[in-house]
């Protein structure tokens, strides 16, 4: 398959390797060829791939792997480590000035997502108690100022604009304005431009001289191809970038640009745009990204999401109920809604280790995890009376018919849900019984992992 992710390609390769007790140099070479092709298909820049593969290979054919008991695993580990390092090692944050206002300048090609990112960054800073000021310095694209104004209103952040005035003057006046209005971060939204457009690149240099920014962030579309290197190189040479924001990472692009940009511009990727909503700007975690690319799952992100979205109180209540075997359909619905509030299911699945490979093995595709399916389950439960939710055994034929009609499903669907629920309740009973026994008999519950 051509469109398999990078992780899919690497996993295929290493599945073959994993079976072997010992690796010959030939094996490693074959694996490296696959790594190379996969990275190229993922839009990692050609030259960077070359260096990368050479580095991995050097370590792979060395003692480290050949003497290891699980050489296949060892290669995966090396690839992962090198990938994470290539993308920037440790996580990096926004540099704030010791004496406010901090000036952040956003630059990039047309359509990379600068304006949206500006608004997202403003929201992000506000949530940390900062008082940002958005500055509309894109005087070329039609309605760009209006766009920033609308977004500014949505995140409830003031927008500084001076119409079609020279962007250099705008930048100067904006910093003044921030100072006198006690705004501590100034976010400059500059116009999108080609990195080879001298006139416009000079404009950026002038803005830089005038506003003296603490951060110059290059906004890069995660779908960018081989050209990402040229873009990052030119912007870096002219302006001296301090960081990169990778946008549109919520698509299915394999994000090779992320690998390239860091290597070329030498500055860290600070944020990742993960969706269209204005709070979808997340800190970029190179290590997590690397493990995600390799299909090793992203458990940390999942846990963080869960902590942010799941009500602790409710969770405690729930575990109590499970222990006392009082878990009802009502609780089930509750739980379902909490999980959904964490974002699209598919995103969550992609974070679970081994899931991407399981998905591949079964030939499953994204649409098999249909959100609508869950919508149906919700509808069915919501069409029940509170009493029925607490005690599904009372459901008879005519009640089921009513519920099916109310939820727009069929009686079979209602039956299936009830049956599944009963089964999971049984399972929970077993678990809790075992748990109790364990306490008494000092024989702990053994989990299958």
């Amino acid at each position: 398959m051509v469109f398999e992710g990078l992780s899919g390609r690497l996993q295929d390769t290493f599945r073959k390797l994993k079976g072997k007790g010992k690796l010959s140099e030939d094996d490693v070479n074959r694996a490296m060829r696959e790594v190379r092709l996969a990275l190229l298909e993922a839009d990692v820049n050609f030259k960077i791939v070359k260096d990368f593969v050479a580095r991995v290979k050097e370590r792979a054919v060395g003692q480290e792997v050949l003497t290891s008991l699980t050489p296949g695993q060892q290669v995966v580990k090396i690839v992962y480590e090198e990938l994470a390092e290539l993308m920037g090692g440790e996580q990096s944050r926004l540099n704030l000035a010791s004496r406010p206002p901090t000036v952040v300048m956003m630059v990039g090609l047309q359509g990379a997502g600068k304006t949206t990112t500006c608004a997202k960054l403003a929201r992000n800073l506000q949530s940390q108690g900062k008082r940002p000021l958005l500055v509309a310095a894109d005087i070329y694209r039609p309605a760009a100022i209006k766009q920033l104004q609308v977004l500014g209103e949505q995140v409830n952040c003031p927008v500084f604009s001076m119409g079609q005035e020279n962007p250099v003057n705008i930048a100067r006046a904006a910093v003044e304005n921030a100072r006198s209005n006690n705004r501590d971060v100034v976010i400059l939204d500059t116009a999108g431009r080609l990195h080879i457009n001298e006139e416009l690149m000079n404009e950026l240099t002038n803005i830089k001289t005038e506003a003296d920014p603490h951060e110059i962030l290059l906004v890069v579309d995660a779908m960018t191809g081989q050209d990402a290197v040229n873009v990052a190189e030119s912007f870096n040479k002219q302006l001296g970038l301090t960081g990169v924001v990778l946008t549109k990472l919520d698509g299915d692009s394999r994000g090779g640009a992320a690998l390239s940009v860091k290597a070329v511009a030498g500055c860290p990727i600070k944020f990742a745009g993960m969706g269209e909503k204005l709070d979808n700007l997340e800190p970029f975690h190179p290590d997590r990204m690397a493990s995600r690319i390799l299909g090793m799952g992203d458990v940390l992100s999942l846990v963080e999401k869960a902590q942010a979205n799941i009500n602790q109180e409710k969770a405690r209540e729930l575990s109590q109920k499970i222990m006392q075997q009082e878990f009802t359909l009502e609780d089930f619905l509750d739980q379902l809604q909490q999980v959904r509030s964490m974002g699209p299911l598919e995103d969550l699945f992609s974070m679970i280790p081994g899931f991407s490979s399981a998905k591949q093995l079964q030939g499953l595709k994204g649409e098999d995890f249909d959100e609508r399916e869950i919508g149906h389950i919700e509808a069915i439960i919501q069409s029940m009376t509170p009493e029925e939710r607490r005690n599904p055994t009372m459901l008879n034929g005519s009640r089921k018919k009513r519920i099916a009609r109310g939820s727009g499903t069929r009686v079979q669907d209602v039956n299936r849900l009830v049956k599944q629920f009963e089964e999971s309740r049984k399972l929970m009973k077993q678990f809790t019984d075992m748990g109790k026994k364990g306490k008494k008999g000092k024989k702990g519950l053994r989990l299958p992992f």
Partner: protein, 364 residues
Amino acid sequence: MRFLDRFRKGRGKTEVEPVVEAEPAVPAASDETESEISEPSVQIEPEEVTVSDLEPVKKKEGLFARLKKGLTKTRENITEKVEQLIKTSRRLDEDFFEELEAILIQADVGVNTTLELVDSLRQGVKEQRLTEVEDVKGLIKEEIAAIMTTDRDNSLCLAAEPPTIIMVVGVNGVGKTTTIAKLAYRFKQEGSRTIIAAADTFRAAAIDQLQIWADRVGVEVIKHQEGADPGAVVFDAVNAARSRQADFLIIDTAGRLHTKSNLMDEIAKVKRVIQREYPDGPHEVLLVLDATTGQNAISQAKEFYQATGVTGIALTKLDGTAKGGIVIAITKELDIPVKLIGIGETLEDLREFDAAEYVEALFA
């Protein structure tokens, strides 16, 4: 405060609540000039720009010359490297082919297409018993031209009876709105009556952006409020096109990632709305692709094809250093013809895609 009140009064007609706006009006400069500058110039500006934007376009320059100029960077990148390679390589050995592979991959042609291309080149060299590096250049050109020349028609599909309905789709930030403006400009130049539907009701100020372009070109826009149902906008636009006897109706849709199934469902619905009124429409579904995009463009094309039955591709931003090799991969892997290319920022910089000419310009 008095000043703020004055400021608010002055902007009474703007839709956006100007309260947050008010702050910028206080900077150090004198009050009078400031309030003038801060006046929402977005609405006023288009008139001025119309003149300055249309005038400097050099009409006399031939199509080929402009295309060549627009593709200069692309050409420099591929051709120069190939030529350099030909000059520096003395023999047609494996190193030569490997280096050729590198060049094509770096042009975003894609691994599979590159490998096949180089393989068939190898075979060609063997069959024709070529030994001179110089001769290979012609062969590369032929190989790529063979991929690019399809049986499919590269011109826009027209309706038997006007209006011809063109739906424009694509991911965020590829240049849909600009491409629509360029397209409308061309239709207008040809003397056709064109209506544009502002069905991007999602992105902030997308409707304003389209309206400004439409004013510059001088065509009508059918629009609703931001956040309105795009299906409803399209329904109105289709009826307007019918009653006003427009020749072309171009529909601007919101950018969406092809992986978001709910948004892809939405765009499929927009298409159904058109089909309810005009069963043979939309006559053209144009997928706009950014030339800077890497291999993901193929994935985009596939998903949008599935949802909307894409009939043609418009490749934008070819005036950068992006090498546009993705066109080769797309034509090869999908049966969707590239119909238009964007090679600059003025309204005239939209060209019909001509495979032969493209390859020629690439290797001229």
